[in-house]
């Protein structure tokens, strides 16, 4: 514990604090920029927001007043910033209220923030899963290709890599849908859940309308929380195991933590997760049976595992597509930097030390080659968050990207702008996390 504390109070915490301050500044600049560009459009700004010719002048005036479009520019700007700080992002033009107690401001309309709250976790899960998978695959393949240099494998990997790297994403996604879903039929064509699997749920469980969320969201958020918890546990065990005296002990600890994670998964689907009964919000009389892994209601039971499997099934194809598209860039870059690092003296020294080949490759060459690759990943984060628009739209995965595109096309501006800003914030946070991870990877950064 003391060691961890020591690490945090050394150059690291200073680094994180500086980074946090910078990110706040960047966030402010970003929001201002969005505001300026949206405001700087030619013509009457109000036309954009209430551009429907069928609206009567009176209604038009009312909407303008409600949206605050009659106020001067600086007031609108301050209002815009204030709304994001307080979380009032306006009301959707299109989405109706689904709560039992409507929002006091939006009344019959659904608040934008509500929509984002619902969609963001889905996008985050998709993004995290494919980023980790594709990064690992790209890293692994790039490493191997560089280590075993050969004309054919090099040429082949370059060609495949470049094609995958530059392929037109929506088109490629359609191609994969056509192959795997339409022709082979092994995965669903798209969507988030298969309603057939959830009908039984709707029958037995009274979904709380008050929360404005459906059961699928509850179960989905569970999975996300569980994944986050698992990652955290694994990370802590990894850090602690670093100090174990023998290599085999470290190995046992790491694998052990994976087993613990799997057990935790069992426990989660069994409902042994602390506080899960409160979070279920399905109904107060819900009970988790952790031997049978199911939710129990007075009217019946819901097995949770098939429902989780339903999500997984729907995620396979989007993740496959995103992985295929994005692993190539990592692979090509990893290969290049690995070839450079392999010529470094410390790799030669590691070989001279009589370390096993695999240790030289992974611990010395690949570990150092990783650094520029991670840097480029940090640069590419915004791009991959952005790429969600394509995949989510084509696979009808109801996340932020799809919400953004739909609301943009249907001219639901409050939602469109709110989603846009939140996509930016998401990219910003991902960037910050990657930055901090990078500082853990490269000790030189921390002492600058």
């Amino acid at each position: 514990m003391a060691r961890i504390w020591q690490v945090l109070t050394s150059g690291m915490s200073k680094y994180i604090i500086v980074r946090l301050l910078q990110i706040v500044l960047v966030l402010y600049l970003y929001m201002t920029l969005v505001f300026i560009i949206l405001e700087a459009q030619p013509g009457d700004i109000t036309d954009i927001y209430v551009g429907n010719p069928k609206i009567t002048p009176e209604a038009r005036e009312a909407i303008i007043k409600q949206l605050g479009l009659d106020k001067p520019l600086h007031e609108r700007y301050l209002n815009y910033l204030k709304n994001f700080v307080t979380g009032h992002l306006g009301c959707s033009f299109k989405w109706g209220n689904i709560r039992e107690v409507p929002d006091p401001v939006c009344r019959e309309q659904r608040p934008t923030w509500d929509l984002i709250k619902e969609r963001l976790p889905r996008t985050v899960l998709l993004f995290l899963t494919y980023t980790i998978i594709s990064f690992y695959i790209g890293f692994f393949l790039g490493k191997l290709i560089a280590w075993r240099r050969g004309a054919i494998i090099e040429y082949f990997s370059t060609v495949v890599g470049v094609v995958l790297f530059t392929v037109f994403t929506p088109w490629f996604a359609l191609l994969l849908v056509w192959i795997f879903a339409v022709n082979l039929g092994i995965v669903p064509i798209g969507g988030f859940i298969n309603p057939d699997n959830w009908r039984v749920v709707e029958r037995v469980g009274t979904v709380s309308r008050d929360m404005g969320v459906s059961l699928s969201n509850v179960v989905f958020n569970y999975i996300l929380m569980w994944l986050g918890g698992l990652t955290l546990v694994w990370g802590v065990i990894y850090l602690v195991s670093q100090r174990f005296p023998y290599a085999w002990q470290r190995r046992v600890a790491r694998w052990g933590s994976v087993c613990i994670g799997l057990l935790a998964m069992g426990a989660f689907f069994g409902g042994a997760w602390p506080g899960s009964a409160d979070q279920a919000v399905i109904a107060s009389e819900t009970r988790f049976n952790f031997f049978l892994w199911q939710l129990e209601f007075p009217a019946g039971t819901i097995p949770l595992f098939p429902l989780a499997l339903d999500f997984v099934q729907h995620m396979i194809l989007p993740i496959l597509t995103l992985t295929l598209i994005s692993f190539a860039g990592t692979m090509l870059l990893m290969r290049n930097t690995m070839l450079e690092t392999m010529r470094e003296d410390y790799v030669m020294a590691a070989k001279a030390k009589g370390l096993p080949d695999q240790v030289v490759r992974d611990k010395h060459a690949a570990r150092n080659a990783l650094l520029p690759v991670v840097t480029s990943l940090i640069f590419a984060i915004a791009f991959s968050v952005d790429g969600g628009v394509f995949t989510e739209t084509i696979f009808s995965w109801p996340g932020m990207g799809k919400l953004l595109l739909e609301s943009a096309i249907e001219q639901d501006y409050p939602v469109a702008i709110g989603t846009l800003v939140f996509t930016g914030i998401f990219a910003l946070v991902a960037h910050l996390i990657a930055d901090i991870l990078y500082a853990f990877l490269d000790p030189r950064i921390r002492y600058d």
């Binding site: 600049l29 970003y30 037109f168 359609l174 469109a416 989603t419």
Partner: protein
Amino acid sequence: MQRARVTFEPTQALWRVRLQLLWRGLKSTWAMFAESKIGLTGLGIIIFFILLWMLWPIYPWLMERLAWTPEELEAARNAPYGAISSIYQVYDPVTGYDPLIPLEENREGNILPPSRRHPLGTDQYGRDILAQLMASTGSEFTLGVLAALITVFIGTCIGAITAYYGGFVDTFFMRLADVFILFPLVSFLIVLGSMMELTLLKLALILGILFGFGQITIILKSQALAIKVKPYIEAAKVAGGGHFHVIFRHIIPNMLPLSFLYMMFNVTSAIFSEAALSFFGLLPGARTTWGIMIDSAHSGGYILGGRSFEYWWLWVPPGVAITLLCSAFYLVGRGLDEVVNPRLRKR
């Protein structure tokens, strides 16, 4: 030896010396570039697309000579419905149709597989696919190169200025670059596209600016910093060159190779963004683009609706075209990388 002779001959005008040096530099660059198979492949693809673009105006004329028999022409001129007066009507990318296609109730009847008169078939409105493909090539090129030029112009200037002055200017532009790196560009363009009519020119301008202040500024700045400490910059300052002179005459010319390299990568991004926007139907106007072609095939249900590879000619050619053109510029960039970046050169 050669170089010294050129520099010290007073009879030659300065511009001629410069031109000769430039020519020599280009020649050696080309020699290095030509060694990279990757770069040559990319260049080959680009030339192929330029040829496609050049051929577009005479494509209908060629087809009239090569593919249409006199009888077919005659029949088309006297078709009971939609008779044409000129062959150009058949191959118009937006309003074209083939009067010889039998008029049917369902639109599938308009879709012709690749044939003599239509080498890549026709779409559900009876328009020639190859004609659409060729007609779009020019705009893709213009947009990509224009956006990349703007990007590189901004990136080079800002990079040189921040490296030269440092201090507040540096901090400001670097934080700004942070913002642009994190900018969800496609999302932004989608929202913007729904609010205003994005013409090709406007799109190129926006893409150019958004890319220009981002990552490229940081990369080019580090390059400029490396140049700034070179002795000849010091010499230029000692010789009495002003800030402006040093930046534009000495720093920027030496950044150009790297700028040019990044321009290639930016063309890829720009074309990709344009294709994505038009795929989502956010680029209005009476044009066809490759993105729109895929979109109309998709929204018509011809990609996912068919059980087999039926109607492949509707969506494979434009997708391949976008991928090829994007990868071509990327490949040229990689090839140039080996010229500019000595670490990647083969020993």
